[in-house]
């Protein structure tokens, strides 16, 4: 499905300094029963965010009015576990357009790229710097410039470059979709399939 173009994003961030955040925490399995991609943001981080009686847990960052924004600042090895794209959908549906971490799990990273959420991998040192800045001042502005592959803490101007596959970058900048690309290759694919041994 086509998605919004991503060029430059300037926003405050929500800090979640926990390592190995797995997709079962991002969206627990019992919320995977939808047959459409709607309403998943309500259950983002459900069991960290709400008590069993559905009251909000005061100490969880999404319930802290000080922090808001379109950037989720996560700990190392973000998105490990299941392949559920619902995790990326929930993050998007909640309003995030970018996740920053010092390390991403593979499938989660791909899922994000496929729906228009930009995964930005920074160095461990820069990640620490970002957490410190955002915790010290929740209004800290961060700019993600995809064209120049650069993330900047706007107050201090401290920046770092990040990697992204050039093909994926082009897709994100233009809101292109892999399926459109593949559909254009259909004749080559059909030809290829005739000679496969299995």
């Amino acid at each position: 499905m086509a998605y919004d173009k991503f060029k430059v994003l300037t926003s405050t961030a929500v800090p979640l300094p926990i390592e190995n955040v797995d997709t079962d925490q991002i969206i627990p399995a019992r919320f995977l029963k939808a047959t459409e991609r709607v309403g998943l943001g309500d259950n983002l981080f459900r069991d960290w965010r709400y008590n069993n009686d559905d009251s909000p847990k005061e100490d969880f960052v999404l319930n802290n009015a000080k922090f808001s924004g379109k950037i989720l600042l996560g700990g190392k090895n973000f998105g490990s576990g299941s392949s559920r794209e619902h995790a990326a959908w929930a993050i998007y549906d909640y309003g995030f357009r970018c996740v920053i971490s010092s390390f991403f799990a593979d499938i989660f990273r791909n899922n994000c790229l496929n729906i228009g959420v930009l995964p930005v991998q920074v160095s461990a040192e820069y990640s620490v710097k970002m957490f410190e800045a955002v915790n010290a001042d929740p209004k800290t502005s961060i700019t993600i410039d995809l064209e120049n592959q650069k993330v900047t803490l706007d107050n201090t101007g401290e920046s770092e470059n990040f990697d992204i596959n050039p093909y994926k970058k082009e897709n994100m900048l233009n809101g292109f979709d892999d399926i459109d690309y593949l559909l254009n290759l259909k004749e080559e694919i059909k030809e290829f399939s005739k000679n496969t041994p299995l």
Binding site: S82, I107, N110
Partner: protein, 486 residues
């Protein structure tokens, strides 16, 4: 080739490098033979031989096809089964949960509309997607196999490249039988020697993950090699490959051998006649060339592996049964996350796992829901009784496994010991159905993930082998299974 290199005026070291570059790993051979197109500076367009589909990650993908008004390109390469959401009792009755029922209906409707074979609830071939694939010969050596489920890595046991994908990618494969993927790096994990009594495939996998952590193989595709895997049964290889994703690897694979070909022979979807000969030609070369180069190589000694158990909230937090829970200061970084994890589990640093109380036992899942797992479990509980404090859920991976349990006489033994058998499905592995472990309760589970709340909100999971689960089921607490082996 060597003669050709002689003609080139190169230093010997350069010649060696060129020769090595031409040597291919098992992974290279399968991957390279499936590349339809290489995008410059981009991912490869990879042709997919087999696509497995289940009810949870496919509905939105089918909606995408409907929106584009296109049909599944190769329905005959696509196989649908219902497993994640299904109840494990009274499967003959309508599914009570309306959301689950709707998702199951959607799969059936989509499969029919696109002419895909569909093994729904009650169908004799129904079961967990990664159990039925191999059972019916859908899983083949050298194949590329995907499914919207991270444990698709299971199929790598046959020498296939098999990996989990997201729903956008499910839509890609349904519509074009291809996926866009950058080629991963290659890692080989060799386990030498042999396994001690009471140590099995699950222990091997949990051991490797404990050494690498849950992100140690991220970006890699793993080949497992060495005596321990050569000796392992196909079921055992499936357990190990299944857990590859838990160390971050996209998948894991083992070169096909006589055992592999014996396993696949004569199964429903295995090629027959001329097609078999054509496939055999391809399969005969499916092994890593001597001197092929991996991006990373790890070697372990099989004899040093103990029965393993996890104590924390990710599969990398595992220890040998005789060991204590590591101290926070011995863990690399992330002390706060480590302490949060132990606090969730209700454990302290230094605690020993032996003797810890258990409330639930779960035998099943795509990791350990095969006949060999039920044989191993039964062997331990035979002649003993289920502990009264334990609720046990024994869930076969498929109807075929269920039938074998009955036919081999295992069911009688299990009943005699106070156990019941449920109907097939993913069940308490991810607790999408009613098989939920209550808040604060401890489950020893043969499944694959011990994440917070994985087996139900607030549940606490200890991952272990079928025999460790059996030992807990009859003693009511964590027990070294070696003390119960006859």
């Amino acid at each position: 080739m060597k003669r050709f290199l002689k003609l080139l005026n190169l230093a010997d070291s350069k010649k060696t490098i060129i020769l090595q570059q031409m040597k291919k790993t098992l992974f290279d051979k399968v991957w390279d033979s499936h590349v339809v197109q290489q995008i410059k500076d981009g991912p490869d367009v990879l042709f997919i031989d087999r696509h497995m589909v289940h009810e949870v990650t496919s509905p939105v993908a089918f909606l995408g096809l409907d929106n584009r008004n296109i049909r599944v390109l190769y329905p005959e390469r696509t196989f649908a089964t219902a497993d994640h959401n299904t109840p494990t009792i009274n499967q003959h009755l309508p599914v009570a949960d309306p959301l689950s029922a709707k998702q199951l209906d959607a799969l059936e409707k989509n499969a029919k509309a696109h002419g895909i074979s569909y093994w729904g609830l009650g169908h004799e071939k129904n079961g967990i997607v990664h159990v039925v694939g191999p059972e019916y010969g859908i899983t083949l050596p050298g194949a590329t196999i995907v499914c919207g489920d991270s444990h698709t890595s299971t199929h790598g046991a046959f020498g296939a490249i098999a990996f989990g994908i997201g729903t956008s990618e499910v839509e890609m494969v349904l519509s074009t039988q291809c996926i866009l993927q950058p080629k991963p790096k290659k890692m080989r994990i060799t386990i030498k020697g042999s396994l001690e009594k009471g140590v099995g495939p699950k222990d091997v996998a949990l051991f490797i993950i404990s050494q690498l952590s849950t992100s140690g193989a991220t970006g890699y595709f793993v080949e497992y090699a060495g005596e321990v895997f050569n000796e392992m049964s196909m079921e055992g290889r499936m357990t190990v490959c299944n857990l590859s994703i838990e160390m971050g690897a996209r998948g894991g694979m083992i070169a096909p051998d006589e055992k592999t070909f014996e396993y696949i022979t004569g199964r429903e979807f295995t090629p027959k006649g001329q097609n078999w000969d054509k496939a055999m030609e391809y399969w005969s070369d499916l092994k890593t060339d001597a001197d092929a180069v991996f991006d990373q190589e790890l070697v372990f000694d099989g004899n040093s592996i103990e029965p393993m158990i996890t104590y924390g909230t990710n599969p990398g937090m595992g220890i040998g049964i005789s060991k204590g829970i590591p101290k926070a200061e011995s863990i690399d970084g992330g002390t706060a996350t480590y302490k949060k994890s132990l606090s969730y589990m209700g454990y302290e640093e230094g605690d020993r796992m032996i003797g810890k109380e258990i409330d639930f036992v779960f035998l099943g899942s795509c990791t350990n829901g095969r006949i060999e797992d039920f044989r191993a479990f039964t062997e331990i509980v035979k002649g003993r009784k289920k502990a009264s404090n334990v609720t046990a859920w024994l869930v076969p991976g498929s109807h075929k496994v269920e039938k074998a349990i009955e036919e081999e006489g295992l069911l009688d033994i299990l009943k005699e010991s106070g156990f019941e058998l449920r109907e097939p499905g993913c069940s308490a592995c991810l607790a999408m159905n009613d098989d939920k472990v209550p808040t604060g309760k401890y489950a020893i589970s043969t499944s694959n993930r011990n994440f917070e709340g994985r087996q139900g909100p607030g549940s606490r999971t200890l991952l272990a082998s079928p025999i460790m689960a059996a030992a807990a089921a009859v003693t009511g607490k964590v027990t070294d299974p070696r003390t119960l082996i006859n």
